[in-house]
């Protein structure tokens, strides 16, 4: 019997090839999207899951009055280990902070993410080199490991595991180190690095003031974390007193300790934001919506086909088939289609994988071993078969033989409201996606075309770790660079306008104190970036005082202090009295999300970091020659850090600020396209169903003298109404959603009306087109055929 049913099913699917392929194709596309998102979600939620103590590892962090941080002083970890037996291991880590060169005799690699750990941290977090990790023999012993890629760059011919000697930093400085071996870096971990050093103890002589370490603890299973947190908190406060720290301040009183599980570190760390987590949830909801819509479609299309199968049901019933057998038969048919859809979906997902990986900056693969898909896919398959199949199977198997065998069978109208509302839901989702996509695009266009207040074009940023804080040290470097043809200006600063944050400090003008940003620059900073002057002057070598106590502020700073005529005023901060010599127009160095911060620019700043960031304005026509010359002359120009000339274009770096939005735009583009496609499929099926059901009515109307146009109008009207309702539902939703999104920008567009109108136009047009194609068949049909059985 199963064989015969299978045969019938195949013949049926074959006969209705068009509908079948739409049905399976739509589901396959939605499944592909779902598979991709699910793989991404699985990847994102399983960081460090391979660690055998995954559930028992916590990071120790501090809650400060203004923020939470994972930075803790190294003695805290030791105190925890000594005092609490439930803590099995304590690991301490410290980040390197800056990029440095590692050179062998022949080659150079760069360590931009250098990590220092103690032995226990390496063990706990599974930072294990390829061979056995030996415990450093003595207190001073350092085991230095490199990621495989760097090792291959440095020693391309290396085959053995023997240690190698390398030079760290500039060759001229001549600091050597022994590389113990290679270590494979787990990219699927919260702790990543490209160079690692393991010590017996980290931060040995540092006290509770050195809050620049990370402390991880591993607890015994079943430990009461809340209680432990309290105990560590008390311990921390007592230790601070013992350590002689100033504990009288509010800052101390309000600081508390928290424990944050390792499994939350990647997506929703306490110290940090949970934006990634929200994005992940949004993505999952999106994917589920798309899959659900595809399932709804599947259901609708199957029911649209129902009249064709009604006779079969009736006959089989009078031949003695139970209803459950029929239900099972139809479910099997749908399962078969779902299997095909799943296989197709996997293929589509595989095809889209490179694009998806590029968009989300991951390297997922369907064909990897221990893939969670192995058990997820069969479950999804069963779920969609059930969701998509149960309703049509029940409807089909429920037909009454006495009705269907009379010859002129029409399915009942009582499920219309259900399918009407499903269709409205589909279109509402489509409208939301289209509108949001258009608004996102408008905001992105605004960000790309809006004047940001400075010009990043033709500005080249050169990587450097040599400190040029003193203008007198930098001057000879500048002169050497300026000799190269095509170079228009050169400057050095503590930061570049690529979205990075500046330091902030309290400054006083006219007795008004405020915390504002500061940035240390050199001559030609504003000229290089083409920043506009509002009042006064830029820094100029002609004024001796500029290197001593001159300052330039931006308009926001002037506004913050309420200065109408700032030139010549004194601004006090960092134990210095600056004289304001100029006011520059605000420029969006931090992108569009944060408002321009009130900022003070100065050449001298005792509180600032070292100026290392070089920026050059180069004439576009001579760009390539100038860069080639720079590269050739760099060791001579920058003697202390000239081994390696590395440069970036500033507009590329600034453009990265838009990456997140561009990613969102791509996601919404895909989602909008998908939902429109799937919703149109659903509409197609529904229109077909409706038209089939109304064949007799249409025939009668034609016999009574209705014109073709009148019938087209008649068939379109209900769909037209549904699309209008869908638009009315989604407009406010889309408005609220996009408004919320736009509010994350300090500089944003007003919500335009056009996207709403466009999405209405698109959906209405699609509806009328799809329905009319179906209706045209009914209009053209000879009424005699439909009325034959009467």
């Amino acid at each position: 019997m199963f064989k015969l049913n299978l045969k019938i099913a195949l013949r049926n699917l074959w006969k209705n090839g068009g509908i079948t392929s739409i049905n399976v194709g739509g589901l396959a596309i939605a499944l592909a999207a779902f598979i991709l998102v699910m793989m991404y979600v699985t990847y994102e939620t399983t960081f460090d899951k391979g660690n055998p103590n995954y559930d028992n590892i916590y990071i120790v962090g501090r809650t400060m009055p203004e923020f939470k941080t994972n930075y803790t002083p190294p003695p805290l970890g030791k105190a925890i280990k000594q005092n609490f037996p439930e803590v099995m291991a304590v690991g301490t880590l410290k980040k390197g902070g800056f990029e440095f060169a590692i050179s062998s005799d022949a080659n150079t690699a760069f360590a931009s993410n250098y990590l220092m750990v103690d032995y226990e941290a390496a063990k706990m977090l599974q930072l294990l080199p390829n061979e056995e990790l030996a415990k450093p023999a003595n207190e001073e012993g350092i085991l230095f490991f490199l990621a495989k890629e760097s090792m291959m760059t440095l020693f391309p011919k290396k085959k053995d595991d023997k240690p190698e000697l390398v030079t760290l930093g500039s060759k001229a400085a001549g600091q050597t180190a022994e590389v113990k071996g290679t270590i494979s870096v787990n990219k699927h971990s919260n702790v990543t690095f490209d160079a690692l050093s393991v010590r017996k103890e980290l931060g040995k002589n540092e006290n509770y003031g050195y809050n620049n370490y990370n402390t991880y603890i591993q607890v015994k299973s079943g430990t009461d974390i809340a209680a432990l947190e309290q105990k560590i908190n008390t311990l921390y406060k007592n230790e601070l007193i013992k350590d002689g720290q100033d504990v009288s301040t509010d800052r101390y009183k309000q600081t508390t300790i928290f424990l944050d599980p390792l499994k939350n570190q990647h997506l929703k760390p306490m110290a940090g934001n949970n934006a990634a987590y929200k994005v992940l949830i949004a993505l999952s909801v999106l994917a589920m919506l798309i899959l659900l819509i595809a399932c709804i479609n599947f259901t609708n299309l199957s029911i649209a086909q129902a009249t064709k199968r009604a006779k079969e049901v009736g006959v089989k019933k009078v031949l003695g088939v139970y209803r459950y057998q029929l239900t099972f038969q139809f479910l099997t048919e749908i399962l078969m289609q779902c299997v095909v859809a799943t296989i197709l979906g996997l293929l589509i997902a595989e095809l889209l994988m490179p694009k998806f990986n590029a968009l989300f900056n991951v390297s997922l693969s369907i064909w990897s071993a221990n893939n969670a898909l192995l058990y997820q896919l069969p479950l999804i398959l069963l779920a969609i078969t059930f969701i998509a199949g149960i309703y049509p199977a029940m409807v089909l198997s429920g037909f009454k033989p006495s009705l269907v065998l009379k010859g002129n069978f029409q399915t009942s109208r009582n499920t219309y409201w259900l399918r009407n509302s499903l269709l409205i839901v589909q279109f509402s989702v489509a409208v939301i996606f289209i509108t949001s996509l258009l608004i996102i695009s408008t905001q992105l266009k605004y960000m790309r075309t809006q004047d940001v207040g400075f010009n990043a074009n033709q500005v080249v940023y050169i990587k450097n770790i040599m400190m040029f804080s003193d203008p007198r040290v930098f001057e000879p470097v500048r002169q050497k660079i300026m000799r190269i043809p095509g170079i228009k200006s050169v400057t050095v600063a503590t930061g570049i306008p690529d979205g990075s944050e500046n330091g902030s400090n309290g400054y006083t003008v006219n007795g008004v104190e405020a915390s504002i940003d500061f940035l240390d620059v050199d001559f030609d900073y504003f000229e290089t970036l083409d920043i506009k002057l509002a009042d006064g002057r830029f820094f100029n070598k002609a004024f001796k005082t500029d290197t001593a106590n001159s300052a330039i502020i931006n308009e926001s700073a002037a506004a913050k202090y309420g200065l109408t005529d700032p030139i010549g005023k004194t601004i006090r901060g960092c134990s210095m009295d600056y004289k304001i010599v100029g006011v520059v127009k605000d420029f969006k160095a931090q992108g569009f999300e944060t408002p321009v911060q009130p900022t003070l620019y100065s050449i001298k700043n005792p509180c600032g970091n070292a100026k290392t960031q070089l920026m050059l304005k180069i004439d576009q026509d001579q760009m390539s020659e100038a860069i080639a010359t720079l590269k050739a002359q760099w060791p001579d120009i920058n003697k202390m850090d000239g081994d390696n000339f590395r440069y970036y274009f500033l507009n590329d770096l600034y453009g990265k600020l838009f990456q997140k939005q561009e990613q969102l735009q791509s996601v919404f583009f895909a989602a909008a396209l998908l939902t429109i496609f799937i919703a149109t499929l659903g509409l197609f099926a529904f229109a077909k169903y409706m038209t089939n059901n109304r064949m007799k009515e249409i025939a009668v109307r034609k016999v009574l003298g209705a014109s073709d146009v009148q019938i087209l109008k008649l068939l379109n009207s209900s769909f037209f109404a549904m699309v209008i309702i869908a638009n009315c539902i989604s407009w406010p939703l889309a408005y609220v959603l996009t408004k919320k999104w736009l509010e994350t920008f300090a500089y944003r567009i007003d919500i335009p009306v056009l996207p709403f109108l466009i999405s209405a136009a698109v959906t209405i047009l699609l509806t009328v087109l799809t329905v009319s194609i179906q209706a045209a068949k009914a209009v053209k049909a000879n009424p005699v055929n439909a009325l034959k059985y009467e």
Binding site: M1, N12, V315, L319, G320, K400, S402
Partner: protein
């Protein structure tokens, strides 16, 4: 075999009952060949549907082989379909996606007849109806008369004790109709199968052993030939 007592069927709409059948009582014995006749709207098809358990009477008593059908569970009813009742329809109602042989085989599958037995019965039917050459054709490739022969072959394959036929020749030309009627008569005489048919044609009715005349839902005449 079939005992109907005071069968009534009506549709109530806005408090007005419109009767299809009224006080229908009759007994049909094993081996009879009954024709139900009457003008359009007399309730012929409804009566046949009730006998075939496709519709339920609003009121009344119906015993099929001494079993009360009204209170029968779906499972029991389907057992009756499988073992005792064969249906023949005016519009043939063959399953379009099945070949001739598969259509004939279908009821045997549901009856859980063994594979070799099934094959021999299907072969036997094809042979009996002269359709061996057409066994792999689909219904749409056959003429109306041929389709109806397949329909009857399908009904017979399950070896029912009664055949219910709703205007079996209604869509056929007269020559084909005659052939079908001859076949019914033969089945009734030689195999002892009870046949109940609804028909408009006096000629067709003459093949049977008894005629029930229906008018406005009431049996007006019960003629034994």
């Amino acid at each position: 075999m079939i005992a109907l007592k005071d069968i009534e069927k009506y549709y109530a709409s806005k408090g007005v009952k419109s009767y299809i059948l009224r006080h229908v009582s009759t007994v049909i014995n094993q081996g009879e060949f009954v024709s139900i006749m009457g003008p359009s709207g007399a309730g012929k098809s409804t009566l046949l549907n009730i006998i075939g358990m496709l519709e339920e009477p609003t009121y009344g008593e119906y015993k099929f082989m001494d079993e009360d059908v009204i209170s029968l569970s779906e499972r029991k009813r389907i057992e009756l379909y499988r073992n005792h009742i064969g249906f023949v329809f005016q519009a043939y109602h063959l399953i379009d996606e099945m070949t001739v042989a598969e259509n004939i085989e279908a009821p045997l599958l549901y009856k859980k007849v063994g594979g070799s037995e099934r094959k021999s019965r299907v072969a036997d039917m094809l042979d009996r109806f002269n359709m061996v050459g057409k066994k792999d054709l689909f219904p749409s490739q056959l003429s109306g008369g041929q389709q109806q022969l397949v329909g009857i072959a399908r009904a017979l394959a399950a070896q029912p004790s009664i055949i219910l036929a709703d205007e079996p020749t209604g869509n056929l030309q007269s020559a084909q109709a005659l052939q079908i009627m001859e076949l019914f008569k033969k089945l009734n005489k030689e195999d002892g199968i009870t046949i109940i048919q609804v028909t408009h044609s006096e000629v067709n009715a003459a093949y049977g052993s008894r005629i029930l005349h229906l008018l406005d839902g009431v049996i007006k005449e019960d003629v034994r030939l």
